[in-house]
Amino acid sequence: MKTQTYYLNLGPQHPSTHGVFRIILELDGEVVVKATPVPGYLHRGIEKLAEARTYTQVIPYTDRMDYLAAMLMNWGYVEAVEKLMGIEVPERAEYIRVIVGELSRIASHMIATGAYGADIGALTAFTYTFRDREYVIDLLEMVSGSRMTFSYFRIGGVAADFPEEFYPAVKKLLDQIPAMCDEYDGLITGNEIFQARTKFVGIIPPEVAVDYSLSGPVLRGSGVNYDLRKVRPYSVYDRFDFEVPLGKNGDCWDRFRIRIEEMRQSKRIIEQALEQMPEGPVLGKVPKVIKPPVGDAYAEIESSKGVYGCYVVSDGSPKPYRVHFRRPSFINLGYLGKLLEGWKIADVIAILGSIDIVLGEVDC
């Protein structure tokens, strides 16, 4: 019997591409023969826009990249500018950055966990993680006044100190986080069907993960112990005691499981940071007009999706000459086309979900 392959256009309008991502699938029945990812539907030219703004005005643009962990996006940029200008950040500000950054990571991983459940077909998981994420967002709102695009970081520190009511609220949340993670484990991770769907699906071998410059949970899922917070500690991360959860097989299951473990570790970091936090100012000595000397600087942090880097070039004017962002979501997608080959349509969604992309960041 003569058979032929056909093309299926997955996206940009599709419930499970996490936004406006598009994959052109060549299918043989249900099996993928060839997959061509097509990003770019949410491109807003943030890097170009930054060239026409002052250094401070760029901060809100970084919020719009990974809008699920906007605090971390702020962090990479301000760190690069601080490096460029040689600004000393007060210790208290560094601790505040760690706390809000880890809260942001928890919020981002909650969405990743819930959305992955929805991708696999368990819509209930989605509502549970979203319910819990609201508590985290409440805290960040207390701090910054915004629920999604915080713009809380400033060059040289942060916008404001924590309000008084923040401390009891964050304690209350931290006490609940283990119970929340247990609930996700019970509802999603422990489910037989979920395990059958994700175990040994979409395996990324460790050497391939390194070759393709993957980072974050996607890299650590393959068993490569590489977390910037440990290998090249920035800010005050060398003062905390935490573990880096690692996967064994590099399959969807490992990538999913790691995120829940990371939430538990983030909780530990926040607890330690709250204990160690010194008194003092939250904004360093920053000139009124931010005018870095001619030169360039590159700073990187471990965002919830992977290694997020920011490269800033200055020509001595109040506006950056060039800003470039190394967006982990985008680079993690590099291996997707190859990875999808040979899997079924349902697995395409499972694999894409396990990489956990945010389209604002991919297309920038």
Partner: protein, 351 residues
């Protein structure tokens, strides 16, 4: 009290019509039409209620509140939904096979309606007391496959086509364990008449006599109604809505609301009749009418269906087929074998 409301009403109607001097043949036809209309109304009302029930149960499982703005506790929500869907435009995409495309959502509700004609709702409450009721029911319900395939093919959409291919594979594969599971019950009762099957459960419900058959029936039943974890046909996160992708307004409502819930009701009602003692009252609570018992049991099964739906993720297509052919079919064959051996031994020792 209330036990014979419907039976008495039918008898009264028959008497009234023959009192008017109508010949017996026409009398039968008129009564048949009345019964059919009653079934259609019954299905439509229940489907509307089930939409509301599904949303409420789903909401409570998902730690939400669910519909609550229209009517008391949102009871009028399905009415608003129906009005909305009815007034929506029926979109006809380019290059669809128009006749098949429009026919599929109409035909999809026929099998459950026909299936209801042989189901005993209560004592003596069955539209047609057919000798081969069970056989008829299984034959009719398996027709739904064709309607889904029609919709999938006629839509001229690849997502619909993939969904259509899945529905045929899935429903045909799970038909087998479904029927084989019921065969265990048929072997014990020795009849295909559903009223007699119910009567045979006077002493012990078949859920206790045939527990494996019940489990197989339940799992295969979920697969037959295309509900999660076997909702590969819709597979919302993969293939948008499968065969229903191109349907809008009432066409979509026929598939999603009416047909899905009507099918679910048939499967639950069958489950009640075959395994849960049908309209028989447990613990001798006969003062509650038999049809109330039937509904209570049916809704219990429906509730479990919904509970499962909002808890489990979706299974993959090859796992689905593997589970059906490698686990359920051999298990149901083993069940038949054990039932047969057991019956032979019981008869041999004259128990």
């Amino acid at each position: 009290m209330g036990e014979n409301i419907f039976v008495d009403f039918t008898a009264w109607l028959r008497g009234l019509i023959s009192g008017l001097g109508v010949p017996d043949l026409f009398n039968d036809i008129i009564l048949m039409i009345v019964k059919l209309a009653a079934i259609i109304v019954f299905i439509a009302l229940n489907a509307t209620w089930l939409v509301y029930m599904e949303r409420k149960i789903c909401a409570y499982i998902q730690s939400r509140v669910g519909p609550r703005h229209h009517g008391p506790v949102g009871l009028l929500q399905p009415v608003f939904d129906v009005v909305k869907l009815m007034t929506k435009e029926i979109v006809l995409p380019k290059n669809v096979d128009l006749v098949v495309f429009l026919l599929a959502p109409v035909l999809i509700v026929v099998p459950p309606i026909v299936a209801y004609s042989v189901l005993p709702f209560g004592k003596d409450m069955v539209a047609i007391d057919m000798n081969i009721g069970l056989f008829f029911l299984v034959a009719v319900t398996s027709l739904s496959t064709i309607m889904f395939w029609m919709a999938g093919w006629a839509s001229n959409n690849k997502y619909s086509l993939v969904g259509g291919m899945r529905v045929v594979a899935q429903m045909v594969s799970y038909e087998l364990p479904l029927v084989l599971a019921m065969l265990g019950v048929v072997m014990i009762t020795g009849t295909l008449n559903l009223s007699e099957v119910v009567n045979a459960q006077k002493n012990v419900w078949f859920i206790f006599a045939q527990p494996i058959a019940f489990l197989i029936y339940f799992i295969a039943g979920v697969a037959e109604t295309n509900r999660p974890p076997f909702d590969l046909v819709e597979g919302e996160s993969e293939i948008i809505a499968g065969p229903y992708t191109e349907y809008a307004g009432m066409g979509f409502a026929m598939f999603y609301g009416l047909a899905e819930f009507a099918n679910m009701m048939v499967i639950s009602a069958m489950c009640t009749v075959m395994f849960l003692g049908g309209w028989l009252a447990p613990f001798g609570l006969t003062f509650i009418p038999s049809w109330v018992w039937f509904f209570l049991k049916m809704y219990l099964v429906i509730f479990i269906f919904m509970w499962v739906r909002w808890t489990f993720p979706r299974i993959r297509v090859d796992q689905l087929m593997g589970f059906g052919w490698k686990v359920l079919v051999p298990l149901s064959l083993a069940n038949i074998f054990i039932t047969g051996t057991g019956m032979y031994i019981y008869r041999a020792i004259g128990w």
